[in-house]
Symmetry: C2
Subunit: 412 residues, 2 copies
């Protein structure tokens, strides 16, 4: 089943907004076993929308559109869809009730222009958008499906997940797809591939394996396709069990997306706590950990020790250590981690100190030099890394290295 | 001048990678006064690439391509470009020297497959990619330009900025474009529009004004188009001066992109220092501040006080305050900010405490309730906000509110 995505909006074309809608939709379609053939971004322009609709419906089974559904005059998607389907706009009761409900809840008066949000091409099926005023519209002609969704990311994502994807699966009888993610860390993609080759080659025909390498880790995705969901679940569980015998030592967890999620899972399941002491990462590690709901159960807190003063007064780093070895040194990283562990009463503490750049490098310690320390109940481990001269990439890679080291320390 | 963008790569279509290349290229083209008509993402697939090349070159002056230039067998862009231009691959000396240089620097041996990186269609002009092994290629036919760039974002961005954009401007004689950004904060877009209407209407014909609203602020972009760069600069400076007489109190700074950058500018120019005390934002405020190069000049550090324990021991919040008013209260926010200001010896300190959710809400303090405090030399200001039930959006909006309050406190 072939699907293309058509995102409409000037704000996407001028680069003001990054097109996260396309990747969010793609991910959902792919995990449902559908093929995404093309993504097109065009302006709120009649000819551009019509041309793309004609072209994409001729070569795909479905076209998923976003954007251009607002009440302002530059949003023309509904009018163009009327033209494409030789239809006309009518007020839709479901959409009107929804608009009224939202305006009432916000305490605003319903203006005529907002009421127009409930007008849709007569030939479409309205899918109610409980999160916003623009209705989602489903069109069918000659076996081809076109769905027009609002461009607001959380409205679109909710509609895709709860309504559009299930309807597409039913309409095109795509059968059942079951996905399973296994997060692997501490081994490169090519080494992992060699290690699990016998297992991979023995996978049943209806299962596919994808390697999704990300910063500091590899996500393995097993996809199984068939008619009986329970049987697929059981077969995947069986294969995952076998995978552990090949690569168990590198598996961080199942159904996880990121390294901080893996940290969270380990913290929760081991009932342990964590603290952070960050210099060069400047709060990024704490920020990534606390972005995950439920972090307060294991994350005590952290210190962003940017100045030497704060390293000393908030973490207890010795003046002598800073004098003798410098702020970017193994000794300072170690004292930061141990200080945070003790002062914030946590089972584990991580510390970073380095030169993120672009300034501040020396011949001995060039930009990109980072010391990391992980302190835990079994002692403190340190590591020196030499990253690049791009500030944000160094911060990001340092954070990933910290999460990896922490995961290994806990698992030991 | 009309330009379209063609991004090639399966990783973009399956949603594994968000297409930031398209928005980065668009931004540069728009600021050079060119129109971006369409963005297309297609697979590493011969027919898809050929069809899109045919279609896009017929309706545009230039097509900028990214991706599909790697040494692996699924990267076919160069072969398809040969077919499109009826050309064939030849080894290019500039590209080969570049590949050799990079492999030598990394201490790797040059394999035959990597040497193939230097093969390009004979009809193209090679633009050297100093940051990577895949050469950039410039094609011309019938007045239309096609440029093929590598898909690695920092390689592409460097090539666009230093080579491709200047060559496009020269080739299509687009004249000079001068852009000026003015960051405005503390006033909504529609009120700002009313306030500066007389100024906007009196702008000379060769100047355009764009409103770019972003979280917590509005960016005004003035674009001037003409033949003489110095005269354009002078005319824009003149108009900016007039703008201050209409909206000076809301202007945070010129040529800034984000609120944290505005904070950084104010801190530097006033020679003052800052500390943070974060509960519900969990390090996000510190992380955004330290993402900016040079932050160590004014940012002392911060405490991520997630647990009550840390609020007390690291920031000096009174046990009694937490007992009587709770962790999410005006009093706690105030003591956090004042504690951070004093203990980290900073001129200003900001504090956040709230319920980011999804759990932890009560009837009195539902999810999304946030208290913010800003402590400075002239006292402490507090503010209560009620955000939504989405954890990450609440964290983001709290951070923006903090930056706004801080900017206003410093400017007073």
């Amino acid at each position: 089943m072939k699907v293309s995505i058509l995102n409409i909006g000037d704000e996407l074309l001028i680069g003001q907004v990054v097109n996260t809608n396309a990747s969010a939709i793609s991910k959902m379609l792919i995990s449902a076993g559908m093929d995404v053939v093309e993504v097109v971004v065009c302006a709120d322009d009649r000819t551009a929308i019509l041309n793309n609709l004609n072209r994409l419906t001729s070569t795909n089974d479905a076209v998923l559109m976003t954007g251009g559904l607002g009440p302002t005059k530059d949003d023309i998607t509904k009018k163009v869809l009327c033209e494409f389907y030789d239809s006309h706009l009518v007020e839709n009761q479901t959409a009107l009730d929804n608009v009224k409900r939202i305006f009432e809840a916000r305490g605003y008066e319903l203006t005529p222009i907002n009421r127009q949000q409930s007008w849709v091409p007569e030939c479409c099926t309205v899918i109610n958008n409980v999160m916003g005023t623009a209705p989602c519209m489903w069109f069918e002609r000659d076996g081809k499906v076109v769905v027009s969704m609002p461009g607001v990311p959380f409205e679109m994502e909710n509609l895709m997940r709860t309504e559009v994807l299930p309807r597409l699966q039913q309409h095109f009888r795509t059968g059942h797809i079951v996905n399973k993610n296994i997060l692997v860390q501490g081994i490169g993609e090519s080494f992992l591939s060699d290690l699990i080759e016998p297992w991979e080659l023995a996978l049943p025909q209806y299962m596919r394996l994808a390697y999704l390498p990300q910063a500091g880790m590899v996500k393995l995705r097993i996809t199984a396709h068939g008619d009986n969901r329970d049987r697929l679940d059981a077969a995947i569980a069986d294969e995952v069990k076998k995978l552990y015998s090949f690569a168990g030592q590198y598996i961080v967890g199942e159904d996880l997306e990121t390294l901080p999620e893996a940290v969270a899972r380990l913290m929760e399941s081991n009932n342990i706590t964590l603290a952070t002491a960050e210099s060069c990462t400047g709060g990024t590690i704490a920020s990534k950990l606390t972005a995950i709901a439920g972090a307060s159960a294991y994350f005590k807190g952290g210190v962003v020790a940017y100045s030497n003063e704060v390293k000393m007064c908030a973490l207890g780093v010795q003046h002598n250590t800073l004098e003798k070895y410098g702020a970017v040194s193994e000794q300072t990283a170690r004292e930061m981690a141990e200080g945070a562990r003790q002062r914030l009463s946590a089972d584990y503490a991580v510390a970073t100190t380095g030169i993120a750049g672009p300034a501040g490098g020396t011949p001995d310690k060039p930009v990109g030099t980072v010391w990391i320390a992980v302190a835990g109940p079994h002692g403190t481990e340190t590591r020196l890394k030499k990253f690049c001269d791009d500030r944000l990439r160094t911060i990001e890679r340092t954070a990933n290295e910290v999460f990896s080291m922490l995961i290994n320390a806990i698992k030991r």
